[in-house]
């Protein structure tokens, strides 16, 4: 796998993450019900729980910022860009894991959108670490 292909995959996942986070941010601020495929109040319950905010900032907004920064890191050439992407994705993965734990054992509800976001962040963590460790980066590709 070349660095170029990994960057494309990371960019695609980051865009999906941005879309999910944008929707959840809208749901939070518009105070409307999130669309849940299987019905039920899981999304609403998670979204209205206190874990939906971190220091007064909606978690959805933090996710949106995180995905945008991961996407932005792809345009930073060389090791700093790769390192930044990995740090962001690993942080997102860790916090997503914590929130999923809270969903399962504290809130007792699962939000499908949150699960989707957690899956995307997990994949991003794998790809960014892969990019950091394994793939040789050509100077030309980093400057693209």
């Amino acid at each position: 796998v070349t660095d170029g292909r990994l960057r494309v995959a990371i960019a695609a996942l980051a865009v999906v993450g941005i879309a999910i986070a944008t929707y959840l941010t809208y749901v939070h601020y518009a105070d409307v019900e999130a669309f849940c495929v299987a019905g039920g109040g899981g999304c609403e319950r998670v979204q209205t729980s206190d874990y939906a905010e971190l220091a007064g900032i909606p978690v959805a907004v933090l996710g949106l910022i995180g995905y945008a920064l991961i996407l932005g890191s792809l345009f930073v050439p060389g090791d700093p860009g790769r390192l930044a992407g990995a740090v962001l994705a690993l942080s997102g993965f860790g916090f997503s894991a914590y929130l999923t734990y809270r969903e399962l054992f504290t809130i007792d509800a699962i939000c499908q959108w949150c699960v989707a976001s957690a899956v995307v962040m997990t994949l991003l963590a794998v790809l960014t670490v892969w990019r950091l460790l394994v793939v040789d980066q050509c100077p030309e590709s980093s400057a693209q």
Partner: protein
């Protein structure tokens, strides 16, 4: 290609002219060759033509004394001057290139020398190339090792920074653990818009939600302080409202079954105050979304006021006043009486049946699963048709 000229000329060397003769190199080397012409021929030969018959020493062209051949250093005769090669001799490279030498007898002593030099050069070149290749390999290996080290260092940095970020986030998130249980005394309640949208346009009367003519009636015995009631409400009410209540197929009656103590009774009286204003279900739903920990003392006038203010059109003060009026407990008493009649002693509990007919206890394995309610409701709806 340089040509090798071999001249089978016999040189007669005057022993007097070569004082060092017979001792090896001394007489052949250096300035003793001053009397040789540019071809290395002795100019004395002609002068001493008469002495030809008994030459003290004779050297064939291309021949050298054995002792001269011996001291080699790096393939080159140590003391040999540049012009040492006389006619019949040539550099080893030339002979090697030609692959043959016509020098009579003397070639045997010179060709191996030249061959040795060529071979030695090739070996040296090979050795040099091998050393170069090894040096390159070492450099590449070192570079690979450096790269691996750098990458692992970067991974360490990434993991370290990420761990710090996550730990800080968790600490900040858990820092509000006390308020995670709900029951906050200040600030706006969560879910106000959602709740008010959910019940907009749906008729309410007292503690009853939905069209009075709906074919199916569901009765819920619940305590506003009960965490299981909250779970059931959060997970099933949105589905039941959207799927059955709003289309006019189901009506839901709430029973103010306050069984968990004084706080539950205060909450139940507050709900009665909201019911009198026709906003009971917004109040119930919003209460559950912001419910505090059971028996934690969160059921205060402040908390009740917060919930009431989250419902547009509801007079919060009237609700607070109702919660403090212990004589105003009509709905609590009625709920207790009906529960006794059906043998209900826990929350949440349910009755279901066709509207206007005898209701039956609804055993629900998991009150948080709206589909279990839907099955019973659908069955009753089919009976009607």
């Amino acid at each position: 290609m340089p040509r090798t000229i071999t001249i089978g000329l016999i040189l007669r060397v005057d022993p007097d002219a070569f004082p060092g003769r017979g001792t090896g190199d001394a007489g052949i080397a250096g300035s003793s060759f001053a009397h040789l012409d540019k071809y290395g021929f002795s100019t004395m030969a002609d002068e001493r033509d008469d002495e030809r018959e008994a030459p003290p020493y004779e050297f064939s062209a291309g021949e050298s004394k054995g002792e001269d051949d011996a001291p080699l250093e790096g393939g080159v005769r140590r003391d040999a001057p540049e012009y040492e090669f006389s006619a019949g001799e040539s550099s080893g490279e030339d002979e090697a290139d030609e692959g043959k030498s016509e020098a009579p007898a003397t070639a045997a002593t010179k060709v191996p020398d030249a061959h040795y030099r060529g071979k030695h050069k090739a070996e040296k070149r090979e050795k040099r190339e091998r050393a170069e290749a090894e040096r390159k390999a070492r450099a590449e290996e070192e570079e690979r090792r450096d790269r691996r080290k750098r990458r692992l260092r970067m991974l360490g940095i990434a993991l370290g920074v990420a761990a710090v970020v996550v730990i800080v986030a968790i600490v900040v998130s858990s820092g509000g653990e006390a308020t995670k249980r709900g029951g906050e005394q200040t600030g706006p309640v969560v879910g106000s818009n959602v709740v008010n949208q959910r019940f907009a346009g749906i008729p309410q009367s007292g503690l009853t939600l939905g069209d009075p003519k709906a074919p199916v009636t569901l009765v819920e015995f619940a305590d506003l302080q009960c965490p299981f009631c909250k779970e059931a409400n959060d997970n099933t009410l949105p589905t039941l409202v959207d799927r059955y209540v709003r289309p006019g197929r189901l009506r839901i009656e709430f029973r103010n079954f306050a069984i968990l103590g004084p706080d539950s009774e205060k909450a139940a009286r507050a709900l009665q105050g909201a019911a009198e204003q026709g906003k009971a279900w917004q109040f119930i739903d919003l209460w559950y979304l912001n419910q505090g920990e059971e028996h934690s003392g969160y059921v205060t006038d402040e908390f009740i006021g917060r919930i009431a203010r989250g419902v547009p059109g509801l007079d919060a003060q009237r609700v607070i006043d109702a919660s403090n009026d212990e004589a105003s407990d009509d709905t609590l008493v009625a709920a207790q009486r009906e529960a006794d009649q059906f043998g209900i002693n826990e929350t949440p509990s349910y009755l279901i049946g066709r509207t206007g007919e005898q209701l039956q206890i609804l055993q629900v394995q998991n009150p948080s699963d709206p589909n279990l309610f839907a099955q019973s409701i659908d069955r009753l709806l089919e009976q009607r048709e």
